[in-house]
Symmetry: C2
DNA sequence: CAGAATACATCGCAAGGCGTAGTATTGTGT
DNA sequence: ACACAATACTACGCCTTGCGATGTATTCTG
């Protein structure tokens, strides 16, 4: 997909990935890959931004001797997802404009 | 609408604006405003990029003593619009993922 | 006659995606 | 046993791009 089109959808996808259960970096990338692929150097800054925005919480836990950071969505994060659902209408109207027939 | 979400849609909207008849900068902004608003300093670089990409042709003509640049879509530009229609399916699948219920 | 509208152009900031690279551990194939 | 892929996180720096601010010039309107 066009790089530009992905922007704006990336953050929302990350939030959607932890919508129902907490997850960690590597898993998030794999989970959303069927929809949008992103590199680690894209994801981690996004996670940091989402944390600073209060959209998610972080928790460090040991897994197999390795440290893992688990990310959990907050109420603000859920609001953000709902807001996206609102904005979807605007995107739809753009789609209709772009694909309109005749004139 | 979220700035990030607009990206990628802007260029496509500009192409859509000249889909059926040539137009010029100021008019394009007014035409697409109901769908996405963009400033002139955003539009003109986009027009230049689209021209360099061969998606549109430019023609200068005098209108009321003032010079106007008319932009006309090319075959490559139309292909680009069709490509967007293809990518729309990917966007839809992302939307479905983000708004999925249960798990 | 002032101010809004029309019309185009340029500069520079800041945000953000991503390539590249680094570190460290665990699992797998031969 | 050893190489290599996979797992897991972090940091640096390039480059694209939207946009605010600003400039110039003409025409229309109250």
């Amino acid at each position: 997909m066009d790089i530009q089109l992905k922007r704006g959808l990336l953050e929302i996808c990350v939030l959607a990935a932890i919508k129902y259960e907490e997850s960690y970096g590597y898993k998030i990338i794999k989970d959303i890959k069927p929809y949008v692929s992103m590199s680690e150097s894209t994801l981690y800054p996004i996670l940091k931004r989402l944390e600073e925005a209060g959209s998610l919480n972080v928790r460090s836990a040991e897994y197999n001797g390795r440290l893992r950071k688990y990310y959990c969505i907050t109420a603000a994060g859920r609001e953000r997802l709902e807001q996206f659902a609102q904005e979807w209408n605007e995107i739809l109207s753009i789609y209709n404009y772009v694909t309109r027939e005749g004139d």
